[in-house]
């Protein structure tokens, strides 16, 4: 992330505050590189580490394969957060 990118984040959120409905659960998509992050996730499983279950992992051959449109489509369908790991 560039210094500029960080700055954008510091600005105020464009979202209006709202009440959180009781039936809401954080829905997250993780784009993971097959060779690094996906392997790390695997390892976490093998090590029987427990972590919050809200993230669904999508494996990419490499995060370089990640297209803008994948991320946008995820948000379009109401996903609450996306992280990319590679």
């Amino acid at each position: 992330m560039t210094a500029d990118g960080e700055k954008i984040e510091e600005r105020q959120s464009p979202e209006k505050p709202c009440e959180i409905p009781p039936d809401w659960k954080a829905n997250i998509i993780a784009f993971a590189c097959h060779y690094c992050a996906f392997a790390a996730a695997d390892l976490a499983g093998v090590m029987r580490l427990s972590y919050l279950p809200n993230s669904k992992v999508i494996r990419l051959p490499c995060t370089g394969k990640l297209d803008h449109i994948y991320v946008l489509r995820a948000f379009e369908r109401g996903i609450d957060g996306v992280f990319v790991a590679g």
Partner: protein, 220 residues
């Protein structure tokens, strides 16, 4: 190539929100090179507009598509059905493409997603600069291959003016003084003496001043 810049999303939304169906239509040649109007950008813009519609609670079906060039009939063959189904088109082409669509489909509303900005080149990755104004009467032969019409802020044919400073234009330090470039280039070519030749007055009738221009190949 033709360089364009996407309009703000808000402006686009205001134009298209009245429709029930919209085809976001990319043009994959010039404006794809500057990452503003290609098929990929059409996909992204369609996605953004869908999210906008969801949030604004407006029912509008938005699909994206695109062709290689929106300024020639041949390329439209592949999207014949889509165009017939569309209620409105948001074209990511330059002004030429938008008008081509408007002329080709008389009853189909078409909106521009881009501001067509200039004819330019790619001087560095992601950096586009104006190089030609299509004035119809090229003087590059006299000016060492640097265009005073598009690159001098005052379009001087016998520059530089008195505002040239350290190679930059008086109106902005971001702009190179075209006449400094011309003089440097003539000097490099050993043609600095040519500077003092007085060229004929520019014939602007070949520019847009003379009305819309066209030409036809004789053997077609």
């Amino acid at each position: 190539m033709i360089v364009g810049e996407q309009k703000p999303l808000e402006e686009i939304w205001e134009m298209v929100k009245v429709h029930k169906q919209l085809t976001v239509f990319g043009c994959n040649t010039c404006v794809a090179v500057c990452h503003q109007g290609g098929n990929k950008e059409a996909g992204i813009l369609a996605s953004l507009l869908r999210m906008k519609a969801t949030q604004e609670e407006v029912d509008i079906e938005i699909v994206d598509s695109g062709i290689e060039r929106q300024c020639e009939h041949e390329f439209f063959e592949s999207v014949r059905d889509l165009m017939n189904r569309s209620e409105a088109v948001l074209s990511l082409a330059c002004g030429i493409g938008v008008q081509f669509v408007a002329t080709k489909y008389q009853t189909l509303p078409v909106y521009p997603a881009l501001n067509t900005t200039f004819l330019g080149d790619v001087i560095a990755v992601g950096h586009f600069t104006e190089k030609c104004q299509a004035c119809g009467d090229c003087v590059l032969g006299l000016t060492g291959g640097v265009c005073p019409v598009s690159r001098c802020c005052k379009r001087l044919m016998n520059g530089p003016c008195g505002g040239s400073s350290n190679g930059k234009c008086e109106i902005s330090k971001e702009i190179d003084c075209a006449w400094q470039l011309i003089v440097d280039r003539l000097e490099a070519l050993g043609r600095l003496d040519d500077y003092e030749k007085i060229p004929p007055l520019k014939d602007w009738s070949k520019d847009r001043a003379g009305g819309p221009r066209s030409f036809k190949l004789e053997d077609m």
